[in-house]
Symmetry: C2
């Protein structure tokens, strides 16, 4: 599948995304040593014990020294800061890449920091669970999923091919698009649904009277529908802030769709409601 071998991989942020990337590449036999870099000790020790990393350090400079590929997998709003710290210590000719859920803003912040002799390939594996940390990482997370790479005019073709091969080796189908398109698409299929899920749980919790928690009655349907509201608040705060423009646009589109439903309910317009529900059902069924 791949002719590449990475003697040393550095992963900054050994959580679900960074940890699973390391595990997948290890399983594919494509990496030599994996060094994990993080702040907390417990998580890194878990990573070591699980075989996600072969060594760890709290020092970004130490961790990336001599690494052929550096993978950033910390929350979106921290990526540029981390990049600024690691770039001066990276080996000439090495490749920096990331797994952040928002691309345009992150790229804008990182590209000016790059050195001539370092390549940057921005990426986003469209895979995940509501779990986080190294304990949640597993080698097959990316199997059968898409990974979106968003090269810019500055991105080196060979570096792009390398990172593409790694994600393919991890089992993903690689899709290439512009950062702007990525952010627009993800705002719709992922960021908006998360905002909606968080708001829905909030609303249902609030709409009971003083001493009545309506959530207590919720059955499987509600639990399933709101599963993504169990996602990590830090990660989603960062995504909401970093993809603000695209997210506000789809949020407004959603408000209009919901207002249409509300108006039809208000007016008792059964025909319009039926048509609306049927159209959504058909669109939803067409995805599967």
């Amino acid at each position: 599948m791949s002719d590449f071998f990475i003697p040393k991989l550095a992963v900054v942020g050994v959580g679900l995304i960074g940890g699973s990337f390391a595990l997948a590449l290890k399983e594919a036999g494509l990496v030599g040593e994996v060094v994990g870099i993080g702040r907390g000790r417990a998580n890194l020790e878990t990573a070591l014990k699980k075989g996600v990393v072969d060594a760890f350090t709290h020092s970004l400079a130490e961790g990336v020294a001599g690494a052929d590929v550096v993978f950033l997998a910390t929350p979106v709003q921290t990526l540029a800061k981390v990049a600024a710290e690691v770039i001066p210590h990276m080996k000439p000719g090495s490749v920096l890449t990331d797994g952040g859920s928002v691309k345009a803003e992150v790229i804008c912040a990182i590209e000016p920091l790059l050195r001539e002799d370092i390549q940057f390939v921005p990426g986003h594996p469209v895979a995940g669970t509501e779990q986080s940390g190294a304990a949640a990482a597993f080698a097959s997370l990316y199997r059968g999923r898409r990974c979106i790479l968003t090269p810019t005019s500055r991105t080196d073709g060979q570096a792009l091919e390398l990172i593409k091969s790694l994600w393919q080796a991890a089992g993903s189908e690689v899709v290439v698009m512009t950062p702007e398109k990525h952010d627009r698409v993800l705002a719709g299929i992922s960021h908006l649904p998360h905002m909606v899920a968080y708001a829905l749980v909030d609303a249902v919790a609030n709409c009971g009277g003083e001493n009545e928690n309506i959530l207590n009655y919720s059955a499987g349907g509600f639990r399933d529908f709101t599963r993504i509201a169990s996602s990590d608040p830090t990660m989603w705060r960062d995504i909401a802030l970093s993809n603000r423009v695209a997210l506000l646009e789809v949020l407004e589109t959603f408000e209009h769709s919901l207002a249409e439903v509300k108006r039809d309910i208000c007016q008792g317009n059964g025909e319009a409601l039926y048509d609306f529900f049927l159209r959504s059902k058909q669109r939803r069924d067409a995805i599967v």
Copy 2:
């Protein structure tokens, strides 16, 4: 579990809910003959072949004649019309019950139609899938789920006990509450999420450009979150219309929650977003 035996059960609307009720009671050995009543022939033939019913007819009068229990499981807005047609033909002392997803409006419409010698027990099994029709029915649908019964001052205690026993025999935990409370609770944990899911699919389909269908990029997360948008449009039109008042109220609460998120994104208020997401996550996690 139950001392009751129902020599003849009539089910009007042999779909997912009516069909599964019949199958569950058959499996529990609590019914003699089950007669299915419906409009379409194909669905009733499926029901007969699957052993959901022992006989079927298109005539409401014929079907309910001699039945000890008549279970109505047609869309919510049709329940009163069906009740008006079956009540004159029901056996003295028999019990009418239903599985409709909205209670107050249905009860208001049915109670004035009742005869002195017929009891009515309004109910709603909180169980279901996005599938419909007799083909989708299965005996264990109600196992481990809740069934809400909403008696009124007119409801006979013995009839209530009978219907309660039947749902318990089907494997459900029976909860008793007022019709109004039922409608308020269900508006929050079920009806609102369905409206939101239909609107979300609509919005995401609309927010791509002319020749860009963003839905094509949707992965497992979006599919899971919007599963309930594949539900039957007729059923949901009827629920939206029949539970209009309670639904509009929670819809507005939801609009406020969403507006709060939107405002915080607009203002780049990361702290407020984090707090909001964390609170929802904690509430969601507390359900499980």
